[in-house]
């Protein structure tokens, strides 16, 4: 059987196609991600190119309203940037940070969770205590504190330059315990299996057993939480940017666009805030719905529905 046929006849695809909500959210997500990453090609303007921006164009309403121009479909922001283009570029930044942060937290979490679960004993007790304590502080608070500390240490100017890697680090460090706990739980279950025993009898080193034998079998729950974690990371990024600890105004993400727009809401200029807000909610909602479906499909008993 060819790979294509295998995919076509797989249980996963069948289950997926039968769920209209999952197909719908996958489609929305695909459109959003494609639009974000193709933004340099499809966006009508380049919001990073200051020479094409005219301050006289600022705060223009969407094209279908009085005073709107067909050049700017969704209107312009306070600096005269085309809102549609800025949203597309901003979404790319948000998605990049979201995925980057999840890769970092997954790496940290898998490494710590695997070590903790396999080695056990005092190290395990210590690492899980640390994870417990950090989780009890709520990831938002930890992220806000780390962001605030970085910003104070490095100053506003430098912070703006390296905002993307900073945000990835801040959100990554704030959320690793989720992964560590999940991985540890499945490692503890896998450790008792006979194939691990067999690998040990053959005399494989611990590191090989951990990474090559146990980890592949412990990956399902990691996949399940990964989708939700991407949504969470995008949300954290937006929140951090909104309170001024994230992306600078010159290179806006969805969160900082909302922040820019918020200052103009009181004068009735609602579109600068509303359109990036809708895109952000759509993005997070699509990922969450897909994550829900994946969780139900892969392991109906993993969570209690709460």
């Amino acid at each position: 059987m060819s790979t294509l046929q295998k995919i076509r006849q797989s249980d996963l695809l069948h289950n997926f196609l039968r769920d209209p909500l999952a197909v719908g959210s996958f489609f929305v997500l695909l459109v959003l991600v494609a639009a974000g990453f193709l933004s340099p090609l499809i966006a009508p303007h380049d919001p990073y190119d200051t020479t094409t921006i005219d301050i006289m164009d600022s705060e223009m309403p969407p094209a279908w309203m009085d005073g709107g121009e067909s050049r700017f479909l969704l209107g312009t922001d306070s600096q005269g940037r085309d809102l549609l283009s800025t949203i597309l570029y901003g979404m790319r930044v948000s998605i990049l940070i979201g995925i980057g942060a999840v890769v970092l937290q997954a790496f940290l979490g898998i490494f710590i969770g695997l070590t903790s679960g396999y080695v056990g004993g005092r190290l395990d007790a210590f690492l899980m205590r640390v994870a417990d304590v950090q989780l009890s502080f709520s990831t938002y608070m930890v992220a806000i504190f780390i962001g605030a500390i970085f910003k104070t240490i490095f100053g506003v100017g430098l912070y703006a330059q390296v905002a993307v890697p900073f945000l990835i680090m801040v959100i990554g460090f704030a959320e690793w315990p989720q992964y560590a706990r999940t991985v540890r739980a499945s490692v503890l279950a896998e450790k008792k299996q006979e194939y691990v025993e067999a690998a040990r009898v053959i005399g494989f080193p611990s590191s090989r057993i951990m990474w090559r034998h146990i980890l592949p079998n412990a990956l399902t729950p990691v996949l399940v939480i990964s989708t939700v974690q991407v949504a969470n990371a995008i949300m954290s990024e937006a929140a951090l940017s909104f309170i001024g600890l994230g992306m600078p105004v010159t290179r806006p993400s969805l969160g900082s666009l909302i922040k820019i727009g918020f200052e103009y809401v009181f004068s009735g200029t609602w579109w600068i805030t509303l359109f990036p807000g809708i895109v952000l909610v759509l993005l997070i909602l699509a990922i969450n719905l897909l994550g829900d479906w994946l969780r139900d499909y892969l392991n109906p008993k993993l969570y209690k529905g709460a």
Binding site: R129, V133, S136, F137, S138, Y140, M141, I144, F145, A148, I149, K151, T152, I153, A231, M235, A238, A239, F242, I243, G244, L245, I258, F262, V265, F266, G268, W270, T273, L274, G277, L280, V281, I284, L285, N288, L289, D292, K304, G305, A306
Partner: protein, 325 residues
């Protein structure tokens, strides 16, 4: 039980110790208190003298011990910007934040319990399907966006409610600067409380629904029904009471999360609470105030979590036995 409590308290103390270390390390690494004190037009020798007087030339550990000792007495240093003790600044703003958290918790309790029970009892009715769908959407809307939309609708367009600030406040008992005592203050509270509760509502509705569904499947509920007890009594007295334990535990932990979200809500509504002052401190580079907030909020988290854990251990013996092994 005693041993369990002692272990939990010891852990809390250790965590506070670590927090104070992080706080002090930030203070040590960032900012120069001497320059903030004397300005730039003072000679190097005099600066050295001030440094020596303040004990800034002592080794790190000695200074940390001094910081700890002062922190125990509630002295977390002077705010560089306000020129007042940082603890005073934060304590003065604490009522604003706490009132916001209390009002939101109230909304969460009032709404999530009936909705959660309803969704569990009638899982197939269109209303509960709609409510559960709405709760998934609700989880995906960031709290600051809810807040902005609320402001735009109710303050900018309809002019029904004020858009920012705390309004008229009144001093209660000489220490508590309250917005609950005046009509104006209460009006200002409505929108921020709704915004803040919007982030917790979906979680609690889903939690209560899940726990309730599980309890309704049990034998003793069937027995109670068979005995002919009134349906509402079975629901409230027999079933709901047994869902309270997990709900209270999650509630206690989420109280901390709510404090984190007040930072966002307070920014949108220009609410003069602790979170607002904290962000101002970050903007101004007021390290002292930043560290004070870190230690203060850290202490709140640690105390809440420890109390919740101990109460949970009291009610549920499995917890303290499991932690013994």
């Amino acid at each position: 039980m005693f041993a369990f409590s002692v272990r939990r308290v010891a852990q809390a103390v250790l965590v506070m110790f670590v927090i104070s270390f992080i706080g002090f390390a930030i203070k040590y690494a960032v900012g120069d208190p001497v320059r903030d004190l004397v300005g730039i037009s003072v000679s190097v020798e005099e600066r050295e003298k001030v440094r020596e007087q303040l004990g800034l030339n002592d080794p790190f550990v000695v200074q940390w011990a001094r910081f700890l000792q002062k922190a125990m007495q509630g002295d977390l240093g002077m705010s560089y910007f306000f020129k007042r003790p940082a603890t005073d600044v934060i304590l003065k703003k604490a009522p604003a934040t706490l009132e916001l958290v209390i009002c939101s918790s109230f909304i969460v309790i009032l709404v999530s319990i009936p909705v959660g029970i309803f969704a569990a009892v009638r899982p197939n009715s269109w209303l509960s399907r709609f409510l559960m769908g709405a709760s998934i959407v609700g989880v995906s809307i960031p709290v600051f966006l809810t807040a902005i939309v609320l402001i735009y609708i109710f303050a900018v367009e309809l002019h029904w409610l004020p858009s920012y600030g705390r309004g008229e406040t009144q001093m209660l008992w000489g220490v508590w600067d309250s917005g609950l005592a005046t009509a104006d203050g209460l009006q200002h509270l409505i929108l921020p409380s709704i915004a803040l509760s919007s982030i917790m509502l979906p979680l609690f509705i889903r939690l209560i629904r899940a726990e309730m569904k599980e309890v309704l499947e049990t034998e003793y509920i069937k027995y109670a029904r068979a005995k002919g007890i009134a349906p509402w009594r079975v629901l409230i007295v027999h079933a709901f009471k047994n869902t309270l334990l997990p709900v209270i535990t999650v509630g206690g932990v989420q109280l901390g999360t709510m404090i984190a979200f007040t930072v966002l809500t307070e920014t949108v509504f220009q609410w003069q609470g602790m979170g607002f002052v904290f962000l101002e401190a970050v903007e101004r580079g007021d390290t002292s105030l930043l560290v004070a907030y870190l230690v203060f909020v850290g202490a709140v988290f640690v105390v809440v979590n420890t109390v919740v854990d101990i109460v949970y251990g009291l009610v549920n013996p499995m917890v303290r036995i499991a932690s013994r092994s």
